[in-house]
């Protein structure tokens, strides 16, 4: 008997171990969670539109800020990344309650380099955009959890295209890695303005037992099969009580 149990349990355990978990293995998505709700380093900034001695907190305290980290000699992602950001921001002409701060993480970049970059993108006159450098870039990138790696062969940094949302108190509220669409940018802007964004995974054909079925076309939410499962434990418990009562009543003393 004991031997059978051991053999059976071993088979069950081995089958678990050999099963692949395809479902939802942690992805690079966790990188976006790093340093969320921690304070960004209050770096001194220098840029054309900034007064001398301005610090990052002074910029963020005026308006929540979207920080883009780039370097001007980049031959890779920085240009398409900035271009996409510019286009997405242009779609939000009515939204003025935020700054976009573009900063270089390459200590070789000067205020002039960033100025030229702003000009190239036609952003030097746009009040929402600031281009700046800092002499404390190491502390700044460390506080953000951004880790560019210098590749001496290509004379380039290996780095993520990173947007950081910073609220008016200087806290990092959201990060976006990669070139992202306007909807994602909307989530970042909402987060720096400290507004709650309700998100919920939509039902899909593989989700058989959802509690509610939301119809995106009509905006209506109808009860789904899942609700039955919420009531099921109480119902099954009642059935068990009644069945047990039925079977034992013959022996009732």
């Amino acid at each position: 008997m004991f031997k059978d149990i051991v053999i059976f349990s071993s088979i069950v355990m081995i089958s678990f171990v050999s099963t692949n978990v395809k479902g939802q293995i942690a992805s690079s998505g966790w990188k976006e969670e790093d340093r969320i709700y921690s304070k960004v380093f209050d770096a001194p900034l220098s840029g054309k539109q900034l007064r001398k001695g301005t610090t990052l907190y002074q910029v963020t305290s005026q308006k929540p800020t979207v920080l883009a980290l780039i370097f001007t000699r980049c031959t890779g992602v920085c240009n398409p990344f900035l271009l996409e950001l510019k286009e997405n921001i242009e779609l939000r002409t009515n939204e003025k309650n935020f700054n976009i701060l573009v900063m270089s993480f390459d200590p070789r970049d000067t205020e002039k380099d960033l100025d030229d970059l702003a000009m190239r993108f036609g952003l030097s006159e746009d009040k929402r955009w600031e281009f700046a450098v800092t002499d404390s870039i190491r502390s700044l990138v460390q506080s953000i959890g951004f880790k560019p790696v210098w590749d001496s062969l290509r004379q380039q940094y290996d780095h993520d295209a990173l947007l950081i949302g910073i609220n008016s108190e200087g806290y990092i509220t959201k990060k976006l890695i990669g070139i992202r669409n306007n909807a994602d940018l909307g989530l970042l802007l909402a987060s720096i303005q400290d507004s709650f964004t309700p998100t919920y995974r939509m039902a899909n054909p593989n989700m058989l037992f959802s509690c509610f079925n939301y119809d995106a076309k009509t905006g209506k939410n109808t009860p789904g099969l899942g609700l039955i499962f919420v009531a099921l434990p109480a119902l099954i418990a009642m059935v068990i009580v009644l069945s047990v009562n039925f079977f034992v009543r013959v022996n009732r003393i």
Binding site: A234, I236, A237, V244, V248
Partner: protein
Amino acid sequence: METLKLRKITSVWIIIVLTLFVVAIVLGILMRLNQGEIIQQSPITFYGNMTTHGLTMIGIWFVAGMAAVNYLLERYVKTSYAANLFALVLTVIGVLMLWCSTFIGEFHAGWTFLYPLPFKIMWAEWATPLFLSSLGVLGLGWLVWSISLMAQILKKYSISQAFAWQHFHKNPKVETPPFILITMITLIGVIACLIAAVILLILFFIEYFSTGSFVNDALLMKNLTYFFGHTIANEMLYLGLAVIYELFAEVSGRPKWHTTWYVALAWNLSLIFILTAFFHHLYMDFVQPEGLQIIGQIASYLASLPAAGVTVFSILVAVYRNKINWSLTNLLFFIGVAGWVIGGLGAVIDATISNNFILHNTLWVPAHFHTYNAMGNVLFSLAFFHWFSNQYYHHKERQNTLKLSILLIGGAGFLLAFYIGGAESIPRRYSTYPSDLPMGATLASIAALFASLYLIAILIFFFNISKKCLKILSSSPQSS
């Protein structure tokens, strides 16, 4: 009549519970020391310890209540030794599997293992199925045990008698003892929440093995998780209350308590409220319809009224201006009821929707549930353990006041740090606190100190009670 076998198995339960309790408290103190920056644990170790601590604590105080109820139930009906033993074996196997998944496999999704966290593999891949299976093993053992106890009650009492419905009429012919009524109501709640756990585990496993062709609805999984988690955490308190109803008057030298119409009504209503109060865990889930949130709030208010109101009233009537034979047993019961009520008030404050916006996921949450557990339910069970072991090996115990004082001072200081932290919006489940919340670390260090006092008191109880239980285990039929 209780048998030697029952006495021995109850002793084994007690020794296991107290041993695991000491280990789980040490894990708790380590967590507070880490939050206080006195020691440094990696987040994985912290959250692994938190998961082990939470589940072990819930598990042991549930089985402690069940073992006590099983022992006392033998006064009224014959219980099944086989079901008791089955639950014991499965509990030991389940705990070993659980600890393997957390300590070796580094599974650390918290005791509520909220979907989809178990599938976000940040630990050994085998740890997720092992963790879920450990819950399956524990749940199976406890479900069989609960159904068996209920079946034994129903062999003697009809359903309406077990629910004490005859007490709604004048001069009922048969009296349902309060112990039977509360046990019956509680067992049904326990069975319902264990079935919720079974459904939850089945859904987890279907998704796990479906390799992506089946996914679960997060809202359904959260509802089921709290149907199980919230309900079992409350039902284990009710098991403790059943023991109080049976023993408090007896050990105090007072007449036995009887079931009246209001006691029957209160406990019948409790069953409904306790099965719907869990909705208050979903206040932040905006997709849950408002109606269910309101049910959650109303049920939370009402769940505390009948059981708490009637029990507190009964205890106060029993002790007020009456001569009581105070002993360690009824003192523990009495202080435990006070702890339960204080924790319950903290819970009701948090279950009020407008307050929940502020207190949600702050240290207020562990504050209230630790109050009615560490200073409520634990004391109910310690009282039973003490009474049980003293029945067979009675020594005049010295320094009861000292033991109780250390327990009280340690417990109160430990809990106060949680409450102050909660009122200061310090978040729960943070392995270390950000520098903006310096109070978090200070409170945690103070809490660790007081929790160590609590541990000292528990160790004294542990040695005194276990010594006697070991003697019971080695006793023969002749010596008994």
